[in-house]
Amino acid sequence: MTSPAIPGLEKSASDQDPVKRSRSLNWRHIGLATALILPNMILLGLFTYRPLIDNFRISFFNWNISSPNMTFIGFDNYVEWFTDDTSWQIARNTAIFTVVAVLGSMAIGLALAMLLDQHLRGRGLVRTIVFAPYVIAGAAIGVAFQFVFDPGYGLVQGVLAFFGVDSPHFYQHSGWALFMITTTYVWKNLGYTFVIYLAALQGRRKDLDEAAEIDGTSAWRKFWRVILPQLKGTTFFLSVTVLLNSFTVFDIIQVMTQGGPFGTGTSTLIYQVYQETFVNNRAGYGAAVATIMFLVILIITLIQVKLQDTQD
Protein backbone atom coordinates (compact mmCIF):
# COMPACT_ATOMS: atom_id res chain seq x y z
CA MET A 1 0.00 0.00 0.00
CA THR A 2 1.56 3.21 -1.11
CA SER A 3 -1.43 5.54 -0.85
CA PRO A 4 -1.10 7.94 2.07
CA ALA A 5 -4.53 7.18 3.50
CA ILE A 6 -7.01 4.38 3.18
CA PRO A 7 -9.19 5.26 0.20
CA GLY A 8 -12.87 5.77 0.76
CA LEU A 9 -12.69 6.34 4.46
CA GLU A 10 -12.77 10.10 4.19
CA LYS A 11 -16.09 11.73 4.88
CA SER A 12 -17.58 14.09 2.33
CA ALA A 13 -14.45 16.18 2.70
CA SER A 14 -12.81 13.79 0.22
CA ASP A 15 -13.85 16.12 -2.58
CA GLN A 16 -11.48 18.73 -1.36
CA ASP A 17 -8.61 16.26 -1.46
CA PRO A 18 -5.52 17.13 -3.44
CA VAL A 19 -6.02 16.48 -7.13
CA LYS A 20 -3.31 13.84 -7.13
CA ARG A 21 -5.18 11.53 -4.82
CA SER A 22 -8.67 11.89 -6.15
CA ARG A 23 -7.41 11.11 -9.64
CA SER A 24 -6.27 7.64 -8.66
CA LEU A 25 -9.40 5.54 -9.10
CA ASN A 26 -9.83 2.50 -6.96
CA TRP A 27 -11.57 0.02 -9.25
CA ARG A 28 -12.36 -2.41 -6.47
CA HIS A 29 -14.29 0.36 -4.73
CA ILE A 30 -16.03 1.41 -7.92
CA GLY A 31 -17.13 -2.12 -8.76
CA LEU A 32 -18.45 -2.80 -5.27
CA ALA A 33 -20.16 0.59 -5.05
CA THR A 34 -21.95 -0.05 -8.33
CA ALA A 35 -23.29 -3.37 -7.07
CA LEU A 36 -24.38 -1.84 -3.76
CA ILE A 37 -25.91 1.40 -4.95
CA LEU A 38 -27.28 0.59 -8.37
CA PRO A 39 -30.44 -1.34 -7.30
CA ASN A 40 -31.70 1.53 -5.16
CA MET A 41 -30.75 4.14 -7.76
CA ILE A 42 -32.63 2.22 -10.46
CA LEU A 43 -35.75 2.10 -8.28
CA LEU A 44 -35.47 5.81 -7.47
CA GLY A 45 -34.93 6.63 -11.12
CA LEU A 46 -37.76 4.48 -12.37
CA PHE A 47 -40.41 5.27 -9.74
CA THR A 48 -39.48 8.77 -8.51
CA TYR A 49 -37.51 10.81 -11.05
CA ARG A 50 -38.91 9.30 -14.28
CA PRO A 51 -42.56 9.86 -13.26
CA LEU A 52 -41.75 13.35 -11.94
CA ILE A 53 -40.63 14.37 -15.43
CA ASP A 54 -43.27 12.25 -17.16
CA ASN A 55 -45.97 13.91 -15.03
CA PHE A 56 -44.92 17.24 -16.50
CA ARG A 57 -45.25 15.80 -20.04
CA ILE A 58 -48.67 14.26 -19.29
CA SER A 59 -49.95 17.64 -18.06
CA PHE A 60 -49.93 18.92 -21.67
CA PHE A 61 -52.30 16.22 -22.85
CA ASN A 62 -55.96 15.35 -22.75
CA TRP A 63 -55.87 11.75 -21.59
CA ASN A 64 -58.10 9.06 -20.10
CA ILE A 65 -55.62 7.03 -18.07
CA SER A 66 -57.06 3.69 -19.18
CA SER A 67 -56.82 4.46 -22.92
CA PRO A 68 -53.69 4.57 -25.10
CA ASN A 69 -54.81 7.73 -26.93
CA MET A 70 -53.41 11.04 -25.76
CA THR A 71 -54.27 14.37 -27.36
CA PHE A 72 -51.76 17.21 -27.09
CA ILE A 73 -53.49 20.37 -25.90
CA GLY A 74 -50.58 22.59 -24.84
CA PHE A 75 -51.22 24.72 -21.76
CA ASP A 76 -55.00 24.21 -21.82
CA ASN A 77 -55.04 22.18 -18.60
CA TYR A 78 -53.14 24.92 -16.76
CA VAL A 79 -55.33 27.66 -18.23
CA GLU A 80 -58.41 25.73 -17.15
CA TRP A 81 -57.12 25.27 -13.61
CA PHE A 82 -56.27 28.93 -13.16
CA THR A 83 -59.60 30.13 -14.52
CA ASP A 84 -61.86 27.61 -12.77
CA ASP A 85 -63.63 28.83 -9.62
CA THR A 86 -63.40 25.39 -7.99
CA SER A 87 -59.62 25.60 -8.15
CA TRP A 88 -59.66 28.59 -5.87
CA GLN A 89 -61.86 26.85 -3.35
CA ILE A 90 -59.47 23.88 -3.45
CA ALA A 91 -56.44 26.16 -3.14
CA ARG A 92 -58.13 27.86 -0.18
CA ASN A 93 -58.92 24.52 1.48
CA THR A 94 -55.31 23.40 0.97
CA ALA A 95 -53.94 26.65 2.40
CA ILE A 96 -56.23 26.61 5.46
CA PHE A 97 -55.62 22.93 6.14
CA THR A 98 -51.85 23.22 5.72
CA VAL A 99 -51.37 26.41 7.73
CA VAL A 100 -53.54 25.23 10.62
CA ALA A 101 -52.01 21.73 10.56
CA VAL A 102 -48.41 23.00 10.50
CA LEU A 103 -48.80 25.81 13.06
CA GLY A 104 -51.18 23.78 15.23
CA SER A 105 -49.11 20.63 15.44
CA MET A 106 -45.87 22.57 15.97
CA ALA A 107 -47.25 24.87 18.67
CA ILE A 108 -49.14 22.15 20.56
CA GLY A 109 -46.28 19.69 20.04
CA LEU A 110 -43.84 22.16 21.58
CA ALA A 111 -46.22 22.91 24.47
CA LEU A 112 -46.59 19.19 25.20
CA ALA A 113 -42.83 18.72 24.97
CA MET A 114 -42.22 21.59 27.44
CA LEU A 115 -44.83 20.07 29.76
CA LEU A 116 -43.49 16.51 29.64
CA ASP A 117 -39.86 17.62 29.88
CA GLN A 118 -40.52 18.53 33.50
CA HIS A 119 -40.08 16.25 36.48
CA LEU A 120 -43.64 15.02 36.83
CA ARG A 121 -44.75 11.64 38.06
CA GLY A 122 -46.12 9.44 35.30
CA ARG A 123 -44.70 11.54 32.48
CA GLY A 124 -43.34 8.42 30.74
CA LEU A 125 -46.83 6.97 30.44
CA VAL A 126 -48.27 10.25 29.19
CA ARG A 127 -45.48 10.53 26.59
CA THR A 128 -46.43 7.07 25.32
CA ILE A 129 -50.14 7.94 25.12
CA VAL A 130 -49.48 11.20 23.27
CA PHE A 131 -47.28 9.47 20.71
CA ALA A 132 -49.43 6.36 20.19
CA PRO A 133 -51.83 7.74 17.53
CA TYR A 134 -48.85 8.50 15.29
CA VAL A 135 -48.19 4.78 14.65
CA ILE A 136 -51.82 4.06 13.69
CA ALA A 137 -52.76 4.11 10.00
CA GLY A 138 -54.33 7.39 8.85
CA ALA A 139 -57.11 5.39 7.19
CA ALA A 140 -57.93 3.66 10.50
CA ILE A 141 -57.98 6.95 12.40
CA GLY A 142 -60.12 8.50 9.67
CA VAL A 143 -62.68 5.70 9.69
CA ALA A 144 -62.89 5.66 13.48
CA PHE A 145 -63.11 9.44 13.76
CA GLN A 146 -66.09 9.45 11.46
CA PHE A 147 -67.93 7.93 14.34
CA VAL A 148 -66.12 10.05 16.94
CA PHE A 149 -67.52 13.11 15.11
CA ASP A 150 -70.95 11.54 14.48
CA PRO A 151 -73.44 14.32 15.32
CA GLY A 152 -75.98 11.86 16.76
CA TYR A 153 -74.02 9.25 18.71
CA GLY A 154 -70.31 10.19 18.57
CA LEU A 155 -67.84 11.10 21.29
CA VAL A 156 -67.62 14.79 20.37
CA GLN A 157 -71.38 15.16 20.51
CA GLY A 158 -71.41 13.30 23.84
CA VAL A 159 -68.88 15.68 25.35
CA LEU A 160 -70.69 18.74 23.95
CA ALA A 161 -74.02 17.44 25.26
CA PHE A 162 -72.46 17.20 28.73
CA PHE A 163 -71.90 20.96 28.55
CA GLY A 164 -75.36 21.46 27.06
CA VAL A 165 -74.12 22.40 23.59
CA ASP A 166 -75.57 20.97 20.37
CA SER A 167 -73.10 19.26 18.07
CA PRO A 168 -72.58 20.87 14.65
CA HIS A 169 -73.32 18.69 11.62
CA PHE A 170 -69.70 18.02 10.77
CA TYR A 171 -70.47 16.24 7.50
CA GLN A 172 -73.01 18.63 6.03
CA HIS A 173 -71.19 21.91 6.33
CA SER A 174 -67.96 22.63 4.40
CA GLY A 175 -66.38 24.67 7.17
CA TRP A 176 -67.11 22.12 9.88
CA ALA A 177 -66.00 19.27 7.62
CA LEU A 178 -62.67 21.01 7.03
CA PHE A 179 -62.40 21.64 10.77
CA MET A 180 -63.02 17.94 11.41
CA ILE A 181 -60.39 16.83 8.86
CA THR A 182 -57.81 19.26 10.22
CA THR A 183 -58.46 18.31 13.85
CA THR A 184 -58.21 14.63 13.02
CA TYR A 185 -54.93 15.14 11.17
CA VAL A 186 -53.39 17.23 13.96
CA TRP A 187 -54.56 14.75 16.62
CA LYS A 188 -52.98 11.84 14.75
CA ASN A 189 -49.68 13.56 13.97
CA LEU A 190 -49.00 15.59 17.13
CA GLY A 191 -46.86 12.76 18.45
CA TYR A 192 -44.28 13.43 15.76
CA THR A 193 -43.67 17.12 16.49
CA PHE A 194 -43.90 16.28 20.18
CA VAL A 195 -41.09 13.68 20.23
CA ILE A 196 -38.83 15.74 17.97
CA TYR A 197 -39.24 18.83 20.18
CA LEU A 198 -38.83 16.73 23.32
CA ALA A 199 -35.53 15.29 22.07
CA ALA A 200 -34.36 18.80 21.16
CA LEU A 201 -35.34 20.16 24.58
CA GLN A 202 -33.48 17.36 26.29
CA GLY A 203 -30.41 18.06 24.22
CA ARG A 204 -30.37 21.78 25.01
CA ARG A 205 -27.83 23.47 27.25
CA LYS A 206 -29.14 23.18 30.78
CA ASP A 207 -26.53 25.60 32.10
CA LEU A 208 -28.23 28.43 30.17
CA ASP A 209 -31.52 27.61 31.94
CA GLU A 210 -29.80 27.76 35.28
CA ALA A 211 -28.04 30.99 34.42
CA ALA A 212 -31.39 32.54 33.46
CA GLU A 213 -32.96 31.34 36.70
CA ILE A 214 -30.14 32.68 38.79
CA ASP A 215 -30.48 36.03 37.05
CA GLY A 216 -34.16 35.96 37.98
CA THR A 217 -35.45 35.94 34.35
CA SER A 218 -39.20 35.40 34.13
CA ALA A 219 -40.42 32.10 32.74
CA TRP A 220 -42.06 33.79 29.75
CA ARG A 221 -38.92 35.73 28.86
CA LYS A 222 -36.77 32.66 29.40
CA PHE A 223 -38.89 30.68 26.94
CA TRP A 224 -38.53 33.30 24.18
CA ARG A 225 -34.95 34.38 24.85
CA VAL A 226 -33.22 31.22 26.10
CA ILE A 227 -35.12 28.09 25.08
CA LEU A 228 -36.71 28.93 21.71
CA PRO A 229 -33.46 30.18 20.09
CA GLN A 230 -31.85 26.84 20.91
CA LEU A 231 -34.68 25.03 19.12
CA LYS A 232 -34.27 27.02 15.89
CA GLY A 233 -32.76 24.16 13.90
CA THR A 234 -35.46 21.77 15.05
CA THR A 235 -38.21 24.25 14.30
CA PHE A 236 -36.85 24.68 10.78
CA PHE A 237 -36.64 20.92 10.23
CA LEU A 238 -40.21 20.45 11.47
CA SER A 239 -41.59 23.31 9.42
CA VAL A 240 -40.24 21.63 6.27
CA THR A 241 -41.24 18.04 7.03
CA VAL A 242 -44.66 18.76 8.56
CA LEU A 243 -45.52 21.08 5.69
CA LEU A 244 -44.61 18.42 3.15
CA ASN A 245 -46.61 15.78 5.02
CA SER A 246 -49.73 17.84 5.62
CA PHE A 247 -49.72 19.18 2.07
CA THR A 248 -50.00 15.65 0.75
CA VAL A 249 -52.61 14.10 3.06
CA PHE A 250 -54.85 11.72 1.21
CA ASP A 251 -56.01 8.85 3.42
CA ILE A 252 -57.88 10.87 6.05
CA ILE A 253 -59.76 12.91 3.42
CA GLN A 254 -60.57 9.85 1.31
CA VAL A 255 -62.09 7.87 4.17
CA MET A 256 -63.78 10.73 6.03
CA THR A 257 -65.34 13.01 3.42
CA GLN A 258 -64.13 11.97 -0.06
CA GLY A 259 -63.47 15.65 -0.63
CA GLY A 260 -67.06 16.65 0.13
CA PRO A 261 -69.55 17.91 1.14
CA PHE A 262 -70.84 19.67 -1.99
CA GLY A 263 -68.20 18.10 -4.23
CA THR A 264 -65.17 20.04 -3.13
CA GLY A 265 -65.96 21.12 0.46
CA THR A 266 -62.79 19.50 1.84
CA SER A 267 -60.86 18.82 -1.38
CA THR A 268 -57.20 19.74 -1.30
CA LEU A 269 -54.78 19.78 -4.23
CA ILE A 270 -53.72 16.18 -3.72
CA TYR A 271 -57.34 15.09 -3.50
CA GLN A 272 -58.08 16.94 -6.72
CA VAL A 273 -55.20 15.07 -8.43
CA TYR A 274 -56.80 11.76 -7.43
CA GLN A 275 -60.35 12.87 -8.24
CA GLU A 276 -59.55 14.18 -11.73
CA THR A 277 -57.22 11.33 -12.69
CA PHE A 278 -58.96 8.27 -11.35
CA VAL A 279 -62.60 9.29 -10.89
CA ASN A 280 -63.22 11.82 -13.68
CA ASN A 281 -60.76 10.05 -16.03
CA ARG A 282 -58.89 13.25 -16.80
CA ALA A 283 -55.29 12.20 -16.17
CA GLY A 284 -53.83 15.14 -18.09
CA TYR A 285 -55.70 17.64 -15.94
CA GLY A 286 -54.77 15.67 -12.82
CA ALA A 287 -51.12 15.76 -13.87
CA ALA A 288 -51.33 19.55 -14.34
CA VAL A 289 -52.68 19.90 -10.77
CA ALA A 290 -49.88 17.60 -9.54
CA THR A 291 -47.27 19.76 -11.27
CA ILE A 292 -48.75 22.92 -9.73
CA MET A 293 -48.72 21.21 -6.33
CA PHE A 294 -45.10 20.15 -6.72
CA LEU A 295 -44.03 23.66 -7.74
CA VAL A 296 -45.85 25.19 -4.77
CA ILE A 297 -44.10 22.76 -2.40
CA LEU A 298 -40.75 23.46 -4.05
CA ILE A 299 -41.16 27.24 -3.82
CA ILE A 300 -42.30 27.16 -0.18
CA THR A 301 -39.38 24.92 0.76
CA LEU A 302 -36.88 27.15 -1.03
CA ILE A 303 -38.30 30.16 0.83
CA GLN A 304 -37.97 28.28 4.13
CA VAL A 305 -34.35 27.37 3.38
CA LYS A 306 -33.62 30.96 2.35
CA LEU A 307 -35.18 32.32 5.57
CA GLN A 308 -33.16 29.85 7.60
CA ASP A 309 -29.95 30.87 5.80
CA THR A 310 -30.47 34.59 6.29
CA GLN A 311 -31.14 34.05 9.98
CA ASP A 312 -27.87 32.20 10.57
Partner: protein
Protein backbone atom coordinates in the same frame (compact mmCIF):
# COMPACT_ATOMS: atom_id res chain seq x y z
CA UNK B 1 -29.01 17.87 10.20
CA UNK B 2 -26.62 15.57 11.97
CA UNK B 3 -27.42 12.41 13.77
CA UNK B 4 -27.36 12.11 17.51
CA UNK B 5 -24.41 10.13 18.76
CA UNK B 6 -25.04 6.44 19.25
CA UNK B 7 -23.15 6.29 22.48
CA UNK B 8 -25.75 8.50 24.08
CA UNK B 9 -28.81 6.84 25.53
CA UNK B 10 -31.91 6.76 23.34
CA UNK B 11 -33.43 9.77 24.98
CA UNK B 12 -30.90 12.18 26.40
CA UNK B 13 -30.40 12.08 30.15
CA UNK B 14 -32.98 13.31 32.60
CA UNK B 15 -32.49 17.03 33.19
CA UNK B 16 -30.48 17.77 36.27
CA UNK B 17 -28.45 14.57 36.11
CA UNK B 18 -26.27 15.80 33.25
CA UNK B 19 -22.79 16.59 34.45
CA UNK B 20 -21.81 18.58 31.36
CA UNK B 21 -20.99 22.22 31.72
CA UNK B 22 -22.30 22.67 35.25
CA UNK B 23 -21.32 26.23 36.13
CA UNK B 24 -19.48 27.16 39.29
CA UNK B 25 -21.88 28.99 41.55
CA UNK B 26 -21.38 31.24 44.51
CA UNK B 27 -23.10 30.30 47.75
CA UNK B 28 -25.82 32.93 47.20
CA UNK B 29 -26.49 31.78 43.66
CA UNK B 30 -26.72 28.19 44.81
CA UNK B 31 -29.31 29.17 47.39
CA UNK B 32 -31.43 30.93 44.78
CA UNK B 33 -30.93 28.17 42.21
CA UNK B 34 -31.98 25.55 44.73
CA UNK B 35 -35.47 26.95 44.96
CA UNK B 36 -36.34 26.56 41.28
CA UNK B 37 -34.71 23.91 39.21
CA UNK B 38 -36.75 23.33 36.10
CA UNK B 39 -38.02 25.16 33.06
CA UNK B 40 -41.39 26.25 34.38
CA UNK B 41 -41.65 24.82 37.83
CA UNK B 42 -42.37 27.77 40.02
CA UNK B 43 -42.65 25.58 43.13
CA UNK B 44 -45.81 23.66 44.04
CA UNK B 45 -48.04 25.94 41.98
CA UNK B 46 -46.09 25.12 38.84
CA UNK B 47 -46.11 21.42 39.66
CA UNK B 48 -49.87 21.48 40.10
CA UNK B 49 -50.26 23.25 36.78
CA UNK B 50 -48.05 20.58 35.24
CA UNK B 51 -50.29 17.79 36.51
CA UNK B 52 -53.38 19.60 35.26
CA UNK B 53 -51.73 19.81 31.84
CA UNK B 54 -50.86 16.12 31.93
CA UNK B 55 -54.43 15.21 32.82
CA UNK B 56 -55.68 17.29 29.89
CA UNK B 57 -53.23 15.54 27.54
CA UNK B 58 -54.38 12.11 28.73
CA UNK B 59 -58.03 13.05 28.24
CA UNK B 60 -57.35 14.40 24.77
CA UNK B 61 -55.36 11.40 23.53
CA UNK B 62 -56.54 8.44 25.56
CA UNK B 63 -60.31 8.99 25.61
CA UNK B 64 -60.81 8.79 21.80
CA UNK B 65 -58.73 5.59 21.66
CA UNK B 66 -60.74 4.16 24.53
CA UNK B 67 -64.01 5.17 22.90
CA UNK B 68 -63.00 3.45 19.64
CA UNK B 69 -61.94 0.24 21.41
CA UNK B 70 -65.17 0.15 23.44
CA UNK B 71 -67.38 0.81 20.41
CA UNK B 72 -65.80 -2.22 18.70
CA UNK B 73 -67.14 -4.35 21.57
CA UNK B 74 -70.68 -2.96 21.64
CA UNK B 75 -73.88 -4.34 20.18
CA UNK B 76 -75.72 -2.34 17.55
CA UNK B 77 -78.26 -1.00 20.05
CA UNK B 78 -75.59 -0.07 22.57
CA UNK B 79 -73.65 1.94 19.96
CA UNK B 80 -76.73 4.04 19.21
CA UNK B 81 -77.44 4.99 22.79
CA UNK B 82 -78.06 8.49 23.99
CA UNK B 83 -76.20 9.59 26.06
CA UNK B 84 -73.13 7.58 25.01
CA UNK B 85 -72.26 4.57 27.16
CA UNK B 86 -68.71 4.20 28.48
CA UNK B 87 -68.81 0.43 28.86
CA UNK B 88 -70.13 -2.19 26.43
CA UNK B 89 -73.29 -3.70 27.87
CA UNK B 90 -73.40 -6.52 26.95
CA UNK B 91 -69.92 -7.29 25.62
CA UNK B 92 -70.09 -8.06 21.90
CA UNK B 93 -66.84 -9.76 20.81
CA UNK B 94 -68.82 -11.19 17.90
CA UNK B 95 -68.02 -7.97 15.98
CA UNK B 96 -64.52 -9.37 15.65
CA UNK B 97 -65.49 -12.86 14.57
CA UNK B 98 -67.99 -11.36 12.10
CA UNK B 99 -65.29 -9.13 10.56
CA UNK B 100 -62.69 -11.87 10.42
CA UNK B 101 -64.75 -14.77 9.13
CA UNK B 102 -67.84 -13.31 7.40
CA UNK B 103 -66.17 -10.28 5.85
CA UNK B 104 -62.87 -12.15 5.31
CA UNK B 105 -60.81 -9.50 7.06
CA UNK B 106 -58.26 -12.23 7.69
CA UNK B 107 -57.28 -11.91 4.01
CA UNK B 108 -56.42 -8.23 4.40
CA UNK B 109 -54.45 -9.11 7.50
CA UNK B 110 -52.53 -11.76 5.54
CA UNK B 111 -51.90 -9.29 2.68
CA UNK B 112 -50.65 -6.64 5.11
CA UNK B 113 -48.25 -9.11 6.67
CA UNK B 114 -46.95 -10.23 3.25
CA UNK B 115 -46.52 -6.70 1.88
CA UNK B 116 -44.98 -5.27 5.04
CA UNK B 117 -42.50 -8.10 5.58
CA UNK B 118 -41.28 -8.26 1.98
CA UNK B 119 -40.97 -4.48 1.72
CA UNK B 120 -39.14 -4.27 5.04
CA UNK B 121 -36.60 -6.92 4.05
CA UNK B 122 -36.00 -5.26 0.67
CA UNK B 123 -35.82 -1.72 2.03
CA UNK B 124 -33.54 -2.50 4.95
CA UNK B 125 -31.18 -4.47 2.68
CA UNK B 126 -31.14 -1.77 0.02
CA UNK B 127 -30.70 0.96 2.62
CA UNK B 128 -27.76 -0.76 4.32
CA UNK B 129 -26.07 -1.58 0.99
CA UNK B 130 -26.55 1.90 -0.35
CA UNK B 131 -25.37 3.54 2.87
CA UNK B 132 -22.30 1.28 2.95
CA UNK B 133 -21.40 2.39 -0.56
CA UNK B 134 -21.88 6.07 0.24
CA UNK B 135 -19.97 5.90 3.53
CA UNK B 136 -17.04 3.58 2.98
CA UNK B 137 -16.33 3.50 -0.74
CA UNK B 138 -14.78 6.12 -2.96
CA UNK B 139 -16.10 6.50 -6.48
CA UNK B 140 -16.74 9.32 -8.93
CA UNK B 141 -20.10 11.09 -8.64
CA UNK B 142 -20.63 9.92 -5.08
CA UNK B 143 -21.87 13.24 -3.71
CA UNK B 144 -24.13 13.87 -6.69
CA UNK B 145 -25.75 10.44 -6.40
CA UNK B 146 -26.22 10.89 -2.67
CA UNK B 147 -27.84 14.26 -3.34
CA UNK B 148 -30.27 12.50 -5.70
CA UNK B 149 -31.21 10.08 -2.92
CA UNK B 150 -31.83 12.91 -0.44
CA UNK B 151 -33.66 15.11 -2.96
CA UNK B 152 -36.14 12.33 -3.64
CA UNK B 153 -37.51 12.97 -0.13
CA UNK B 154 -38.82 16.25 -1.51
CA UNK B 155 -40.86 14.52 -4.24
CA UNK B 156 -44.21 13.46 -2.75
CA UNK B 157 -45.47 10.05 -3.93
CA UNK B 158 -48.65 11.78 -4.97
CA UNK B 159 -46.90 13.69 -7.76
CA UNK B 160 -45.58 10.47 -9.27
CA UNK B 161 -48.68 8.25 -9.00
CA UNK B 162 -50.23 9.07 -12.38
CA UNK B 163 -47.21 8.08 -14.44
CA UNK B 164 -46.37 5.14 -12.17
CA UNK B 165 -49.94 3.88 -12.33
CA UNK B 166 -49.90 3.94 -16.13
CA UNK B 167 -46.53 2.16 -16.23
CA UNK B 168 -47.35 -0.54 -13.70
CA UNK B 169 -50.81 -1.12 -15.19
CA UNK B 170 -49.24 -1.54 -18.65
CA UNK B 171 -47.12 -4.36 -17.17
CA UNK B 172 -50.32 -6.06 -16.03
CA UNK B 173 -49.25 -5.66 -12.42
CA UNK B 174 -52.51 -4.27 -11.00
CA UNK B 175 -53.94 -6.50 -8.26
CA UNK B 176 -50.58 -8.22 -7.75
CA UNK B 177 -48.17 -8.08 -4.83
CA UNK B 178 -45.27 -7.01 -7.03
CA UNK B 179 -47.40 -4.13 -8.32
CA UNK B 180 -47.77 -2.82 -4.78
CA UNK B 181 -44.28 -3.70 -3.55
CA UNK B 182 -41.77 -2.82 -6.30
CA UNK B 183 -42.69 0.87 -6.81
CA UNK B 184 -42.53 1.45 -3.03
CA UNK B 185 -39.19 -0.30 -2.52
CA UNK B 186 -36.73 2.59 -3.09
CA UNK B 187 -35.09 3.84 0.13
CA UNK B 188 -34.20 7.47 0.76
CA UNK B 189 -34.62 8.28 4.46
CA UNK B 190 -33.19 4.93 5.56
CA UNK B 191 -30.11 5.42 3.38
CA UNK B 192 -29.62 8.84 4.94
CA UNK B 193 -30.07 7.45 8.47
CA UNK B 194 -27.69 4.52 8.00
CA UNK B 195 -25.06 6.60 6.19
CA UNK B 196 -24.97 9.15 9.00
CA UNK B 197 -24.49 6.32 11.45
CA UNK B 198 -21.79 4.57 9.40
CA UNK B 199 -19.84 7.82 9.15
CA UNK B 200 -19.87 8.08 12.93
CA UNK B 201 -18.18 4.70 13.39
CA UNK B 202 -14.52 4.74 14.48
CA UNK B 203 -12.33 5.09 11.40
CA UNK B 204 -9.57 2.87 12.78
CA UNK B 205 -11.73 -0.25 12.67
CA UNK B 206 -12.59 0.24 9.02
CA UNK B 207 -8.97 1.04 8.19
CA UNK B 208 -7.87 -2.18 9.84
CA UNK B 209 -10.44 -4.18 7.88
CA UNK B 210 -9.34 -2.52 4.66
CA UNK B 211 -5.66 -3.19 5.36
CA UNK B 212 -6.37 -6.84 6.13
CA UNK B 213 -8.14 -7.07 2.79
CA UNK B 214 -11.33 -8.22 4.48
CA UNK B 215 -14.10 -8.80 1.93
CA UNK B 216 -17.35 -6.86 1.78
CA UNK B 217 -19.64 -9.43 3.42
CA UNK B 218 -17.19 -10.14 6.20
CA UNK B 219 -16.66 -6.43 6.85
CA UNK B 220 -20.42 -5.80 6.84
CA UNK B 221 -21.47 -8.65 9.09
CA UNK B 222 -18.43 -8.88 11.37
CA UNK B 223 -17.38 -5.26 11.67
CA UNK B 224 -20.04 -2.75 10.61
CA UNK B 225 -23.38 -4.26 11.61
CA UNK B 226 -22.34 -5.36 15.13
CA UNK B 227 -21.69 -1.68 15.82
CA UNK B 228 -24.96 -0.58 14.24
CA UNK B 229 -27.82 -2.55 15.79
CA UNK B 230 -29.66 0.38 17.46
CA UNK B 231 -29.76 2.41 14.24
CA UNK B 232 -30.63 -0.64 12.16
CA UNK B 233 -33.50 -1.53 14.50
CA UNK B 234 -34.77 2.06 14.40
CA UNK B 235 -34.65 2.03 10.58
CA UNK B 236 -36.47 -1.33 10.48
CA UNK B 237 -39.21 -0.16 12.85
CA UNK B 238 -39.88 3.03 10.93
CA UNK B 239 -40.09 1.00 7.73
CA UNK B 240 -42.52 -1.52 9.25
CA UNK B 241 -44.86 1.20 10.52
CA UNK B 242 -44.68 3.18 7.27
CA UNK B 243 -45.43 0.24 5.03
CA UNK B 244 -48.16 -1.19 7.26
CA UNK B 245 -49.94 2.19 7.16
CA UNK B 246 -49.30 2.86 3.45
CA UNK B 247 -52.47 4.03 1.73
CA UNK B 248 -52.58 5.79 -1.65
CA UNK B 249 -50.51 3.39 -3.75
CA UNK B 250 -52.05 0.11 -2.53
CA UNK B 251 -55.45 1.81 -2.81
CA UNK B 252 -54.86 2.50 -6.52
CA UNK B 253 -53.30 -0.91 -7.16
CA UNK B 254 -55.95 -3.18 -5.64
CA UNK B 255 -59.67 -3.58 -6.30
CA UNK B 256 -60.44 -6.67 -4.23
CA UNK B 257 -59.27 -8.52 -1.14
CA UNK B 258 -56.81 -10.49 -3.31
CA UNK B 259 -53.81 -8.27 -2.48
CA UNK B 260 -55.24 -5.23 -0.64
CA UNK B 261 -53.70 -4.52 2.80
CA UNK B 262 -55.68 -3.64 5.95
CA UNK B 263 -56.11 0.15 5.49
CA UNK B 264 -57.63 -0.51 2.05
CA UNK B 265 -59.72 -3.36 3.45
CA UNK B 266 -61.03 -0.94 6.03
CA UNK B 267 -62.16 1.44 3.30
CA UNK B 268 -63.85 -1.41 1.45
CA UNK B 269 -65.46 -2.56 4.71
CA UNK B 270 -66.71 0.97 5.33
CA UNK B 271 -68.14 1.17 1.79
CA UNK B 272 -69.95 -2.16 2.16
CA UNK B 273 -71.22 -1.85 5.72
CA UNK B 274 -71.83 1.84 5.32
CA UNK B 275 -72.38 3.99 8.33
CA UNK B 276 -75.06 1.68 9.66
CA UNK B 277 -72.98 -1.12 11.15
CA UNK B 278 -70.34 0.60 13.27
CA UNK B 279 -69.45 -2.35 15.51
CA UNK B 280 -67.70 -4.43 12.82
CA UNK B 281 -66.19 -1.30 11.23
CA UNK B 282 -64.66 -0.36 14.59
CA UNK B 283 -63.46 -3.94 15.07
CA UNK B 284 -61.70 -3.68 11.69
CA UNK B 285 -60.15 -0.39 12.76
CA UNK B 286 -58.85 -1.91 15.97
CA UNK B 287 -57.44 -4.91 14.07
CA UNK B 288 -55.59 -2.51 11.75
CA UNK B 289 -54.22 -0.39 14.59
CA UNK B 290 -53.32 -2.96 17.25
CA UNK B 291 -50.31 -4.67 15.58
CA UNK B 292 -48.47 -1.35 15.21
CA UNK B 293 -49.47 -0.26 18.72
CA UNK B 294 -47.99 -3.48 20.10
CA UNK B 295 -44.76 -3.02 18.13
CA UNK B 296 -44.62 0.57 19.36
CA UNK B 297 -45.27 -0.28 23.01
CA UNK B 298 -42.51 -2.88 23.03
CA UNK B 299 -39.91 -0.93 21.06
CA UNK B 300 -40.90 2.72 21.53
CA UNK B 301 -37.43 3.92 22.51
CA UNK B 302 -35.83 2.49 19.39
CA UNK B 303 -38.62 3.82 17.17
CA UNK B 304 -38.42 7.34 18.59
CA UNK B 305 -34.66 7.25 18.23
CA UNK B 306 -35.05 6.62 14.52
CA UNK B 307 -37.46 9.53 14.12
CA UNK B 308 -35.38 11.99 16.08
CA UNK B 309 -32.02 10.88 14.67
CA UNK B 310 -32.38 12.86 11.47
CA UNK B 311 -33.93 15.88 13.10
CA UNK B 312 -32.07 16.94 16.21
CA UNK B 313 -28.60 18.31 16.17
CA UNK B 314 -26.43 16.03 18.28
Amino acid sequence: MTMTDDTKPVLPPVPGTSPEGAPELTAAQRRRAGSRHQAFEGGTGGKLLGYVGMAAAVLLFFVPLYFIAMTSLKTHGDIYSDPISWFPNPFAPENYSYVLSELRFDRYLRNSIIITSILTVIEVSLGVMCAYGFSFLRFPGRNLLFLLVIASLMVPNQVTVISNYALVASWGWRNTFQGIIVPLAAVAFGTFLMRNHFLSLPKEVMEAAELDGTGFFRTLFRVVLPMSWPTLIAFTLITVVNEWNQYLWPFLMSDTDKVAPLPIGLTQLQDNEGLTNWGPVMAGTVLTAVPMLIVFLILQKQMIKGLTAGAVKG
